[in-house]
């Protein structure tokens, strides 16, 4: 059986509405057994609301450092350093929802 085994990546959701988070992987020859094993490995203690079971070969991987970690300074693409508190307050006043208490922090 080992020769025909495939790797299946398992994603789990802990509570309704939570994002799916990678839990790990199982080996199984097909989707049916992969589903059973994912259930045993990532759901038998009632710790998951939902599982996604994905054959590893269906995943498109991007790990090219030229694309992900280019050598130039990219700090200007991060939101840090921009003060938006006053702009937000002004926008809320215009929209008539001032004082809702949300999103009033300075962005990182």
């Amino acid at each position: 059986m080992a020769a025909r085994d495939r790797v299946w990546e398992v994603f789990r959701q802990e509570a309704e509405g939570d994002p799916m988070i990678h839990g790990g992987s199982v080996k199984a020859p097909d989707e049916e057994l992969a589903t059973h094993y994912a259930r045993e490995f990532y759901g038998r203690r009632q710790e998951s609301e939902r599982l996604w079971i994905v054959p590893r070969e269906a995943i498109t991987e991007l790990d090219d450092p030229d694309l992900l970690k280019p050598p130039f300074d990219r700090s200007f693409k991060r939101p840090g350093g921009f003060l938006i508190k006053h702009k937000l307050e002004a926008a809320k006043t215009r929209a008539g929802t001032a004082g809702s208490g949300e999103a009033e922090e300075t962005a990182e």
Partner: protein, 259 residues
């Protein structure tokens, strides 16, 4: 629910003990695959399913203990081998994977029907328990049907081994529906909504077409017509005596200890 009279209580106790012992003994046999199942993933799955059965046994023992005023642990571990009431199907050692799958398939299909029926029991605590267990047993049934198919379609060797084990276990599988002393009283009280023989007939209607579909051996007409042996839940084997020694090692090491 009205208070049960003394006779009905004794009949119910007999039924609960049979249900509990089936799950308990099978759970122990199959837990022996832990560490040596054919693949790592199946090792975890088999161990988990075996734990489920021990959990179901616990629920039945507790229901029984509540009825008789005994202690559930004492019932589970405190009896001599000859006092256990599991069906003869659970009398045999774990053996190989084909044996395990054949036994599990026969047991899970029988247990599924039994729980379906008990969900309609007039004894509410038992009916509620059956409803709860069915949810978990659905997965067990799926898992062992899947393995039955895989071994049936997995080449000549696995098919032959599976076929031989199914033929060997067929008579003992009938014992899941072996008559109980108190069956008439359980039927009269509605605790058993249906006779065990009628359940066995419905089980055959489900199992035989599946085995035929997979090209596996099916029981002969004579085998189907033969009623389960009356000693199907009382006959004990050397295999079981050995297992009993294993599962009572800890509880027997110091009588009355609190763990």
């Amino acid at each position: 629910m009205s208070e049960l009279d003394k006779v009905t209580r004794a009949c119910l106790a007999e039924l609960l003990l049979a249900l509990a012992d089936d799950e308990f003994v099978l759970g122990f046999w199959d837990s022996e695959w832990t560490g040596i199942a054919p693949i790592l993933e199946e090792d975890v799955a088999m161990s988990s399913v075996s734990q489920d059965e021990i959990g179901h046994a616990k629920a039945f023992y507790e229901l029984l203990a509540g009825l008789t005023g005994e202690n559930a642990d004492e019932i589970a571990f405190g009896r001599p081998p000859e006092a256990y009431r599991h069906a003869a199907l659970m009398n045999h050692a774990r053996n190989d994977w084909a044996f395990t799958i054949a036994r599990r398939y026969l047991y899970e299909t029988a247990d599924a029907l039994r729980l379906e029926s008990l969900a309609g029991s007039s004894h509410e605590p038992l009916a509620n328990l059956a409803v709860k267990m069915r949810r978990e047993e659905t997965y067990h049934l799926l898992h062992f049907d899947l393995w039955l198919r895989r071994l049936a379609e997995g080449g000549e060797d696995s098919r032959q081994r599976l076929s031989a084990m199914l033929e060997r276990l067929w008579p003992d599988a009938q014992a899941v529906f072996a008559p109980l002393d108190g069956e008439a009283c359980l039927l009269a009280a509605g605790i058993l909504p249906e006779s065990l023989e009628s359940l066995r007939a419905r089980w055959l209607e489900r199992v035989v077409p599946r085995l035929e579909e997979l090209g596996l051996p099916v029981p002969t007409a004579a085998q189907r017509a033969a009623k389960p042996r009356t000693d199907g839940r009382t006959q004990r084997t050397a295999d079981f005596t050995w297992l009993h020694g294993e599962f009572t090692t800890v509880s027997g090491s110091e009588a009355g200890a609190t763990w």
